[in-house]
């Protein structure tokens, strides 16, 4: 579904991603962990088409298409969803109205019929209930004045309505309380299916107890320095990241 090959990305003349290779098949859940500033959000942004990055080498294939050649909204309509690390506030724009416009843009793209206000409201209510989201958030302006946790929950709420094929979650767990973490994880698990894949960026192994990943990758200084299964996350939790650098230093001569 997603294949990243030798991806190099810089911003403001500084190289941030230095050769990423990653293959994600339908149905898989990949977790990306790594120290602050290692490039996790940058990877998520580049995959979803944010401006301001220079791709100096490499390619990304998404469902047989050149992902990097597509506009952000085209990627979204093709099924790429990014749950933002820092969701953006859009004052004056009603949450429900916004999401219906988004869903209908995606449905139009797929050649499906648009949902009218009533149909959408029904859908939105049922999903909100699933995520135990306060209904009043539906009628408030997008993310405006939402608490940190409410914002994160709203991201997953949006994802559950837009039903993407590739969900990229950037630190969705940070800011969520213990109960919310569980509810939100259940929301994500409910979306897991053989056609759908997830890339989950997190710092904490706790989330991965709820959303059990098939693979765990460690991103450090713009490179994936180690990949493994869910036990890698446990090991990282115990030992931190420094041992990986030592290991890498032993394995390959310092350039």
């Amino acid at each position: 579904m997603l294949e990243i090959r030798n991806l190099h990305v810089s911003a403001e003349g500084k190289e941030i991603l230095r050769g990423i290779d990653l293959k994600v098949n339908p149905g898989e859940v990949h977790s990306i962990m790594g120290p602050n500033g290692s490039g996790k959000s940058t990877l998520a942004h580049v995959l979803s088409g944010r401006e301001g990055y220079e791709i100096t080498a490499g390619e990304v294939d998404f469902k047989g298409q050149d992902l990097l050649d597509m506009k952000p909204e085209e990627r979204a309509r093709e099924g790429v969803f990014l749950a933002f690390q820092y969701p953006v506030e859009i004052p004056g724009v009603n949450n429900t109205y916004f999401l219906r416009a988004a869903l209908n843009a995606i449905r139009r793209h797929r050649g499906e019929e648009e949902l009218d206000a009533m149909e959408f409201l029904r859908l939105a209510r049922s999903k909100a209930k699933l995520l135990k989201m306060d209904q009043s958030l539906l009628s408030r302006p997008v993310n405006e004045g939402f608490s940190g946790g409410e914002k994160k929950r709203n991201e997953i709420f949006q994802m559950s309505i837009l039903e993407p094929t590739l969900g990229i979650l950037d630190e969705t767990d940070s800011g969520l309380d213990i109960d919310a973490l569980k509810i939100v994880s259940e929301g994500v698990n409910a979306l897991r299916s053989p056609e759908r894949a997830f890339v989950i960026v997190t710092h904490y192994q706790r989330l991965l107890e709820y959303i059990v990943p098939d693979f765990v990758h460690v991103l450090d200084r713009g490179r994936i320095v180690k990949s493994g299964d869910k036990t890698l996350a446990l090991e990282l939790e115990k030992r931190g990241y420094s041992w990986l650098r030592e290991e890498a230093g032993e394995a390959q001569p310092v350039a």
């Binding site: 401006e51 506009k71 909204e73 953006v88 506030e89 859009i90 004052p91 416009a101 949006q158 837009l162």
Partner: protein
């Protein structure tokens, strides 16, 4: 990764959607202004003698006045001798009795604008007094309104049929000596609408006039007068679009509203005249004087405007609150893009006791647009317990545009309450990206954010007008990001 920017540039190059010209032969005077021209205008319209005298007084006053230069706008000097002051479509002098008699080409023009008159009559129940160039050529629903004693007709006709009413109120709110442009308008006004709602009558439909500037080099000098008698209610809509032009066109209208005891007037405007090209060439100069008098106790005047067009806008719909407990309102959305300049706002003059005024102004600047809010809240010595609330928000799209706010406050009384809130925001790239990531185009994102910003004003518009306004804003914002 500059796909977004490219896309936006492409959209920015889109032509003005309503840029087309109707080819109707016009009967026009040669350019220039003199006493003779004024006499001619007046005689063509077979006006009463007092009207001519009033026009001439205005003309002499105007000759002594100086064009104002305090507004935050710049434009080349206007040669007033190079303007045509009268032009009328060559049609029967009697005027048409029904739409069948209207020049088909004119009707076609309206269709292009998406406002077919026939449909409007039937569907919307809107009475339309269409001003084409300087003479009204279509008037509808007159009879139905007439049943309730409502007068809604071209000003030229009102001067024939209701001269006493016109004489009593014309110039009573905006005297001919008021300002340079009002004086000019008083001297040469061509036509406009007159509206009178009798005592206790609630006007059963929105009254609507579509103004349209068409003949080349024809300055438009509309004159509108609306009088709401005791306990009456009327909602009036004014909307306009204009064909593409190479030359700047002057538009200096005057609108006067009079609300007597317990009466309410709602006046809504959508203004979409040609803004000029990317360099600002060819746009309309919109120098308008609009003012309402809340004469009677408990009367209310509410201005709502959506200003998206014109190269230059100079416009301050105001309220003079004379009657005790009277209320003035001003809700405004002004969008400037390309090289557009808007200096707009309101004056609320509190004279009566317990008078209130409410101002909500939303300025949006994109491209190289310059948007100025200029507002005066004045509370007179005797206006006990007067209250004014002003909210003034600016939104910037891009980094080449500007927003300016000039609030003036004069308080002559210690019981007055004045509240002023102001904000400036910028549509951020992160907001646009967030919307795009959910599947919306950059354009849709901007129009959604801007419409959200303007919500408080749009909700003051009649339903169909609000929908129009949103569409208009979206069309006008295409290509404004980048």
């Amino acid at each position: 990764m500059s796909t977004e920017t490219d896309e936006l540039q492409k959209l920015a190059d889109e032509e003005y959607k309503y840029g087309f010209v109707t080819d109707i032969e016009s009967e026009a005077l040669p350019p220039g202004l003199s006493e003779d021209v004024i006499r001619l205008i007046s005689s063509k319209k077979r006006e009463p003698e007092w009207m001519l005298e009033w026009r001439l007084k205005a003309y002499h006053q105007w000759m002594k006045m100086k064009e104002p230069d305090w507004a935050f706008v710049t434009y080349p000097k206007i040669d007033y001798q190079d303007i045509v002051y009268y032009s009328a479509p060559k049609s029967k002098s009697d005027g048409p009795q029904s739409l069948d008699e209207i020049d088909p080409e004119l009707l076609e023009t309206y269709k292009k604008l998406g406002i077919p008159l026939e449909e409007q009559e039937v569907l919307a129940g809107v009475a339309v007094d269409a001003v084409f160039d300087s003479v009204s050529v279509a008037t509808t629903f007159r009879e139905k309104l007439g049943e309730q004693g409502i007068i809604f007709c071209p000003m030229s006709e009102a001067l024939q049929e209701h001269p006493d009413l016109v004489r009593k109120y014309l110039g009573s709110v905006v005297p001919y000596s008021d300002n340079f442009f009002a004086a000019l308008n008083s001297a040469v006004f061509s036509d406009g609408s007159f509206c009178y709602i009798p005592k206790g009558v609630r006007c059963p439909m929105e009254l609507s006039t579509y103004f349209r500037i068409n003949a080349a080099k024809t300055g438009q000098f509309e004159r509108t007068l609306i009088v709401a008698d005791e306990g009456s209610y009327v909602s009036y809509l004014e909307g306009c679009t204009a064909p593409m032009r190479d030359e700047n066109q002057l538009h200096a209208a005057v609108v006067e509203l009079v609300a007597l005891k317990d009466a309410t007037i709602k006046y809504s405007t959508i203004q979409n005249w040609y803004p000029g090209d990317d360099e600002g060439v060819g746009g309309i100069y919109n120098f308008v004087t609009k003012r309402g008098k809340c004469l009677g106790a408990n009367s209310r005047i509410s201005w709502t405007q959506v200003e998206t067009g014109s190269a230059i806008t100079w416009k301050y719909p105001s309220c003079i609150l004379i009657g005790d407990n009277s209320k003035g309102e001003f809700y405004s959305v002004a969008l400037t893009k390309k090289r557009q300049q808007a200096d707009t706002g309101t004056k609320m003059i509190h004279i009566g006791k317990n008078t209130r005024s409410n101002i909500v102004s939303k300025g949006i600047s994109a491209g190289h647009g310059q948007n100025t809010y200029r507002g005066l809240g004045k509370i007179n010595k005797n206006a006990k317990n007067a209250r004014n609330y002003t909210q003034c928000d600016s939104m910037l799209i891009g980094s080449e545009c500007g927003a300016h706010t000039f609030p003036y406050i004069e308080i002559g009384n210690s019981t007055a309450h004045m509240e002023h809130e102001a904000s400036t925001s910028k549509i951020g790239e992160d907001q646009i990206f967030y919307c795009q990531q959910r599947g919306l185009s950059a354009e849709d994102a901007v129009s959604m954010i801007v419409n959200g910003f303007c919500k408080e004003v749009f909700k003051e518009l009649p339903m169909e007008f609000a929908v129009e306004a949103q569409k208009l804003l979206a069309v006008n914002l295409e290509g404004s990001v980048g």
